[in-house]
């Protein structure tokens, strides 16, 4: 994947995944370098009623601390935040994290679109948004909002996704900046700047 370069000042990375997402994220998140300057936010659809062990599962393979979000948590650099089951995750000024119990969006709570739209409003062009494997169309609207705000849009190549529908829906709605295999998204992540230390 030579020649792919990221916009310089990415402050936040938002990632949405559905079916097949646990496996995809277990491969992808370890590519985030220790000391990453940006903050990372993940929405993963899970079947209802499952308690969440995601932070633990991803924390084991990731160089960065992984946290399940508590309402009004401050946003720290170099930290991965995972939406808790059955709540929408939003970014608010501060920046801080906010949860809501609003109706599901695209049959989903947490919804990828809800996270992406609030992140687009807050970070504008300093945002990198990634849509991974999944069924359904959640995230397509959100990715369009990221694009309107000047953020960088990445979609997993549908043929590379274990469930292609969600990335395909996103591509119908927007022309992503990058359409990549998981392997290539990992290389992209490795390029993300670390805090100057």
């Amino acid at each position: 994947m030579s020649g792919l370069t990221l916009p310089a000042a990415i402050e936040a990375v938002v990632i949405g995944a559905s079916s097949g997402g646990v496996e995809a994220l277990r491969r992808l998140l370890p590519a985030l370098p220790a000391g990453l300057a940006a903050s990372v936010f993940v929405v993963l659809h899970l079947p209802r009623g499952r308690g969440s062990l995601l932070a633990e599962i991803f924390g084991r393979v990731c160089a960065l601390p992984v946290r399940e979000v508590l309402d009004k948590d401050p946003v720290l650099p170099g930290t991965v935040y995972v939406a808790p089951p059955n709540y929408h995750l939003l970014l608010d000024s501060g920046p801080q994290l906010a949860l809501s119990m609003d109706e599901p969006v695209e049959y989903s709570r947490p919804s990828i679109t809800v996270l992406f739209e609030s992140a687009a409003a807050l970070y504008g062009p300093r945002l990198l948004a990634v849509i991974l494997t999944g069924a359904g169309a959640d995230g397509a609207e959100g990715l369009a909002a990221v694009q309107r705000a000047g953020g960088c849009c990445v979609v997993q190549l549908p043929a590379d996704a274990s469930v292609p529908q969600m990335p395909a829906s996103a591509l119908q709605r927007t022309s992503a900046d990058f359409v990549l295999t998981l392997e290539d998204i990992m290389s992209l992540f490795r390029q993300l700047p670390r805090s100057s230390a």
Binding site: V69, L70, D71, K72, L90, S100, M101, A121
Partner: protein, 280 residues
């Protein structure tokens, strides 16, 4: 959700003006609500009312009282369930009920009760534990339509299987079907549960404490508030609770932003149940 032409700054000014206008005209105070989710719901309201901007909506709200009534349905979120998070109710049974038994009479405050599911769940739990007859449950909210539905106690029968499962997992000693009758796709809750519940209008943003209680249950309401308003609400709970009274909140909420955070100890950590302690 297309066509949000407002770039951040204009949007913020308009949103602030709108909530100020609502506060001064209708005395509902949304100024301390978390902005990101409020903005999202207002976007849906713009669409519903056919307004292009929040300023346009503001003008309609100021001049047409009926518009405000409708807008309130967007500003507040009426999503609830019976025995939501069964572990919470199980922890109430195991860790709180034994202490509640020691009181000759009980007062319980369900704050932000929405359409009543949480209050009825509490009533059923207390009945099963033999405490309902000596209890009074104050169930409060700011949404008048939600309170009307709560009074009626009629729910969609399609939800019953899920509620039954929640109830069972909450340690239910009886069958949920003992507490409702089904008709025409509705589940109508046993009216005797309502004898010990008072539904009323009360705002955690503008009103004060109205009674001394042994237990406050306020779940998934604080998430809609910013840190300062959370702190105000938690002050009210601290003031309303008797010595060694209990406070239960939503599973992803916390007491961190309360000036009284150290006046509570954890009773059930994962289930977010706390007890007020004496501090010298």
């Amino acid at each position: 959700m297309k066509g949000e032409g407002d770039d951040g700054a204009v949007g913020d000014i308009e949103l602030n003006l709108l909530v100020e206008a609502i506060y001064h005209t209708y005395h509902y105070d949304f100024r301390g609500y978390a902005r990101a989710s409020l903005r999202r719901r207002l976007k849906a309201a713009l669409h519903h009312f056919g307004c292009a901007t929040l300023s346009q909506l503001q003008s309609r709200v100021l001049h047409e009282a009926a518009v405000f009534g409708e807008l309130l349905e967007y500003l507040t979120v009426q999503v609830s369930e019976m025995f939501r998070d069964p572990g919470y109710f199980l922890a109430l049974r195991e860790k709180v009920v034994p202490l509640l038994r020691t009181y000759p009479s009980l007062k319980i405050w369900v704050a932000g009760c929405s359409t009543g599911e949480e209050a009825y769940s509490m009533a059923i739990l207390l009945r099963e534990e033999g405490l309902l007859e000596r209890s009074l449950i104050y169930a409060t909210d700011i949404n008048p339509n939600a309170l009307r539905k709560a009074e009626a106690g009629i729910y969609d029968a399609a939800k019953v299987p899920e509620y039954t499962e929640n109830h069972r997992r909450s340690g239910g000693r009886s069958s949920l079907s003992d507490y409702y009758s089904a008709a025409y796709g509705r589940a109508i809750l046993d009216k005797s549960l309502r004898r010990n519940i008072v539904f009323s209008d009360h705002s955690l943003a503008t009103d004060s404490v109205f009674a001394e209680v042994q237990l406050v249950s306020c779940r998934n309401v604080l998430i809609y508030f910013d840190r300062a308003l959370q702190s105000r609400a938690l002050d009210l709970f601290h003031e309303a609770l008797c010595r060694k009274g209990f406070l239960g909140i939503g599973l992803r909420e916390s007491l961190r932003f309360s000036s009284h955070a150290d006046a509570f100890v954890e009773v059930a950590r994962e289930d977010r149940i706390y007890q007020k302690v004496d501090r010298a």
